[in-house]
């Protein structure tokens, strides 16, 4: 299979399907979109199977000097592989979630989703600075349309806010990219990763990238577009927004800010830590008082993303691995939670928490799935988020005990708002007649939720499957940034006894 341009094919499948969708009937577009996303999932599985763990850093490389000033360069490492897998895994589920919920303009909706998939895979696979920017930025157009056309009542305000907010962040990054390309005389990301930029310029470049990624992430206080966008977007739009698009910010920090500007990352780490600590506590408290389910989960996303950023800027292996695990885990769990909200929203057409109650009585299967994802979101051992949050916080502890202390309170608050939500929706008396009439999960809905639940438990029970592909990349990254590593305040000392249990069995 060497020489088979699998990444290009993964881009081409949704591209062709997206155009074909416009010419089909509503039902035809649904099936075509499902088939195309499943083909991409199959290709993704093939990609993972053929990915040589421990092999070259960049694999499946393709390069064509098509565009004069920059090239069509694709290639993936372990980080990109896992995030591409997350995208192709969630995509068929999104199509399934919109199967009956979307009734108007189905063809265009499916087209927009397929284009989004294409752009997400492209963003993670791009190995050229400007190709990355094109994919990264182009995602705005389909998301703008998805929120604006198929969104809720206040969709127009939300779509503008989403578009202009993220555009402003991105153009600042674009300026920095122009400077970098001119300084390094290359636009190839692997080469730029080994370019040492002057320390005094790094700060500016770092801030420019920060402007873009902090908005995408989103970090407090740049998060205000997120609750609006989530509340107004259709269910599948929320899933893809929370599941994959938010990961673009974290991926950006991981791919650009840390390895390209290590000194600036260390100097400005306090900014990341400060904003993240505020985010964890503040947004968790805000989530506690929400009456709208989607808003609650949106705020919880901001809190979880803050755990990602502190992990990344811990400058050590645990922190970075943990950050990646939180990204993957959160992608699955928050996506699934939005699906859970979508399930009952489709039945009652309201997201008001108070309108529900006692669902455990008439919807036991639903209650079970919702429970799995709730405890996963809280970060109970055995679920994906536990692994990520534990590693992240363990990594940060070596740098700053205070930040760890503050952020750990967020875990407790997280348990508070999620369990409070679960209690109000699922437990209690079944008093309302329209709620009593709601049927339990259909087969289609089970088919959507079950794979995510399986993946969440897999990640929680055997995280090695997900840690292995990125182990070498984490090692490369930590070696690269080691020279700028900040001194920690925890002063850990080497243990004296045997520590056999920590070592993973080889």
């Amino acid at each position: 299979m060497s020489g088979f341009p699998i990444l290009s094919v993964m881009l081409a499948v949704p591209a062709v399907a997206a155009i074909a969708c416009l010419f089909l009937s509503a039902n035809g577009a649904r099936w075509l979109a499902l088939i195309a996303t499943l083909i991409d999932l199959a290709l993704g599985i093939m990609l993972w199977a053929q990915f040589d763990i421990g092999g070259a850093q960049w694999q499946f490389q393709e390069f064509h000097p098509l565009f004069g000033k920059f090239g069509y360069a694709l290639g993936i490492d372990g980080f990109a592989l896992l995030l591409i897998m997350l995208s192709v895994f969630l995509m068929p589920i999104c199509i399934g979630a919109s199967w009956v919920a979307i009734e108007k303009r189905v063809q265009e909706y499916m087209c927009a989703f397929l284009v989004t998939e294409l752009l997400m895979i492209g963003t993670f696979a791009a190995q050229d600075l400007f190709l990355f920017y094109i994919f990264f930025e182009a995602g705005l157009i389909p998301m703008y349309l998805i929120i604006g056309v198929w969104g809720g009542a206040n969709r127009i305000y939300a779509s503008y806010k989403f578009f202009l907010y993220t555009l402003l962040g991105s153009v600042v990054m674009f300026i920095a990219m122009l400077w970098m390309a001119q300084f390094a005389h290359t636009t190839s990301i692997p080469q730029l990763l080994n370019t040492d930029f002057p320390v005094h310029v790094q700060t500016w470049l770092w801030l420019a990238f920060f402007a873009s990624f902090a908005v995408k992430m989103p970090m407090w206080p740049f998060h205000t577009w997120l609750p609006d966008a989530h509340v107004q977007a259709p269910t599948a739009g929320s899933v893809i927004l929370a599941g994959v698009l938010l990961k673009l910010g974290g991926y950006g920090f991981l791919r650009f800010s840390l390895p390209m500007f290590p000194e600036a990352s260390a100097q400005l780490g306090w900014l990341i830590f400060g904003l993240s600590a505020v985010a964890v506590i503040y947004t968790s408290l805000v989530a506690l008082v929400q009456s709208d389910m989607k808003k609650l989960i949106a705020y919880s996303s901001v809190a979880h993303m803050a755990i990602v950023t502190i992990g990344l800027f811990a400058f050590n292996r645990q922190g970075i691995e943990g950050a990646m695990m939180v990204m993957l885990g959160h992608g699955l769990v928050s996506g699934a939670l939005f699906l859970c909200v979508g399930v009952i929203y489709d039945r009652l057409h309201t997201r008001e928490i108070d309108r529900y109650g006692g669902l455990a009585i008439n919807m036991p299967r639903y209650a079970l799935f919702f429970m799995v994802f709730t405890i996963a979101s809280v970060g109970l051992p055995g679920t994906s988020n536990f692994v990520g949050e534990f590693l992240s916080l363990a990594g940060v502890y070596q740098v700053s005990t205070w930040i760890t202390f503050l952020c750990t309170t967020g875990i407790i608050l997280g348990a508070a708002y999620m369990l409070y939500l679960y209690r109000r929706v699922v437990f209690g008396e079944l008093t309302k007649d329209d709620v009593r009439a709601m049927p339990d999960l259909s087969l289609r809905e089970i088919a959507l939720l079950a794979p995510i639940a399986a993946a969440v438990l897999w990640m929680g029970v055997y995280p090695e499957s997900f840690l292995a592909p990125m182990r070498n990349d984490v090692a490369t990254l930590t070696a690269r940034i080691d020279r700028a590593k900040p001194a920690g305040d925890s002063l850990p000392t080497a243990g004296h006894g045997p520590v056999a249990t920590v070592e993973a069995a080889k």
Binding site: R105, A138, V171, I175
Partner: protein, 479 residues
């Protein structure tokens, strides 16, 4: 002499065709319009083919008065395409709107204007330049007031004429100063004079020449005529104004700046940077409040000229090449947008121009809406559409020329522009449907929209190697 005639072959073809067709029009009357239109397009194609010969590589003709180089050829190709499209899209519009058929003078005037534009971009001497400019402008004034029964059209023509005359006066004043202090009107000799040392008179001349040029490309602060003329002129004429003369004036400005005043780059760069930033910011801010789509596109053209000037400000071959790439993509975007504006007409076939009438277009005419959305996102410079590459090329050149702070302000200001382009997409996609437009049967217009939309779609990136190499060859002809 023969060599010079061969080098000016495209202008000879167009000029002769225009004069002959004028006679045909005089005898044939309105009935001959169709034949004249097609013959005019054929003449433009013929002139385009003639560019392959000595006209694109011959060098100096008529002792340096006229230059037949790759740069001129590049600009002329764009001018001829834009002029041809402007002729093709006219008959339907006039038939529906004015109630009577298109008068046969329309294609003739466009041919004359194209001849003038060819002279403008090929000028090697300030006097050739001025004659070409006036030929182009006089034809354009008549075109602006072509709907004689419509007061808005007459007003547009008059406004254009008065302000255009003022601009020509300013330019001529600058030319006379340059001549007075350098003793020549030939570009190459003027460059020697600027290189010889600082002279207050020459600097004044430079400022006035640039003011006149800014008028012609409608850069801020000399843009005031643009929205009024664009709104009042018949839509096919507006499409013409926004494309061909823009390219010609921009190419002329580049040639004057580089070839005649190259040694004084540091002096004119300040003017260009100011005009560029002012155009980008003013064009974007003023467009926000517009309710008429033609006015909005007028401000959009001001905004775009600002971006194209970024490449000129770089003052390098790379920058000039970026200007040419920018203008190529701009012509496709702007002609495409105006072609769609031409489809906007109510049930009786009368044109409507309010942005509000676009509401819900994505439901009533999905392909038309998709086309306009493509042009709007492209004009806003959002990747992956081709308009992004245009902006990328000019800012790349500016950064490479060391104008980093300038690029920062320009790029940041492009976000303001995104807002009003988004507003059109929002109106078409998010709002409830307004009364549908009358359906269009015209295959030519539909085909042209499709071609333009495909060019600015991501497929356009495939044209980059060709476009890049060709524009760089063209730009190097100036250095």
């Amino acid at each position: 002499m023969i060599a010079s005639l061969l080098m000016t072959l495209p202008e000879e073809i167009l000029g002769t065709a225009a004069l002959l067709l004028m006679l045909v029009a005089a005898w044939g009357g309105p009935g001959a319009t169709r034949a004249i239109s097609w013959t005019s397009v054929a003449a433009l194609v013929g002139a385009g083919i003639a560019l392959f010969g000595a006209a694109s590589s011959g060098g100096d003709a008529y002792d340096g008065l006229y230059r037949a180089d790759a740069f001129a050829a590049f600009a002329k190709v764009l001018i001829y395409i834009a002029s041809g499209v402007s002729i093709l899209l006219a008959p339907n519009f006039f038939q529906r709107t004015a109630g009577d058929d298109l008068r046969p003078e329309y294609p003739v005037l466009i041919l004359l204007s194209a001849t003038g534009m060819g002279m403008m971009v090929s000028a090697g001497d300030l006097l050739t330049l001025y004659v070409g400019l006036e030929l182009q402008s006089l034809a354009a004034y008549v075109l602006a007031s072509f709907m004689r029964r419509d007061t808005r059209s007459a007003e547009a023509g008059l406004k254009y004429f008065v302000l255009g005359a003022l601009a020509s006066g300013i330019l001529l004043y600058g030319i006379s100063l340059v001549y007075g202090f350098s003793g020549t009107t030939l570009f190459s000799s003027i460059a020697t004079a600027y290189g010889a040392g600082h002279s207050m008179g020459l600097t004044f001349g430079l400022v006035f020449v640039f003011a006149g040029l800014a008028f012609k490309i409608s850069a801020v602060p000399f843009h005031m005529w643009t929205p009024d003329v664009y709104e009042g002129a018949p839509t096919p004429v507006t499409a013409f104004f926004a494309s061909a003369p823009k390219v010609a004036a921009m190419a002329m400005a580049v040639r004057v700046a580089v070839e005649a005043m190259g040694p004084a780059t540091d002096q004119w760069r300040q003017i260009v940077i100011f005009a560029s930033l002012a155009s980008i910011i003013f064009g974007a801010v003023a467009a926000i409040g517009q309710t008429n789509i033609k006015r909005l596109l007028a401000y959009s053209s001001i905004n775009n000229v600002g971006f194209a000037l970024v490449g000129l400000a770089a003052g390098t071959a790379e920058g000039v090449s970026a200007v040419l790439v920018y203008m190529t993509i701009y012509v496709a975007m702007t002609l495409g947008s105006f072609l769609i504006v031409l489809q906007m007409r109510d049930a009786e076939g009368q044109p409507v121009e309010t942005i509000a009438s676009l509401a819900g277009l994505s439901k009533t005419r999905p392909w038309l809406a998709l086309g306009l959305a493509t042009f709007m996102f492209s004009l806003a410079g959002i990747p992956p559409l081709f308009g992004f590459y245009a902006k990328f090329a000019v800012f790349w050149a500016a950064v490479n020329a060391g104008l980093f702070p300038f690029a920062v302000v320009g790029i940041a200001a492009s976000v303001i522009g995104a807002y009003y382009y988004l507003r059109i997409v929002k109106t078409m996609y998010f709002d409830d449907a307004a009364p549908a437009f009358a359906p269009s049967e015209d295959r030519i217009e539909g085909g042209l929209i499709a071609v333009a939309a495909l060019f600015v779609s991501p497929l356009g990136y495939l044209a980059i190697p060709l476009l890049g190499a060709w524009s760089l060859t063209a730009a190097k002809a100036l250095f």
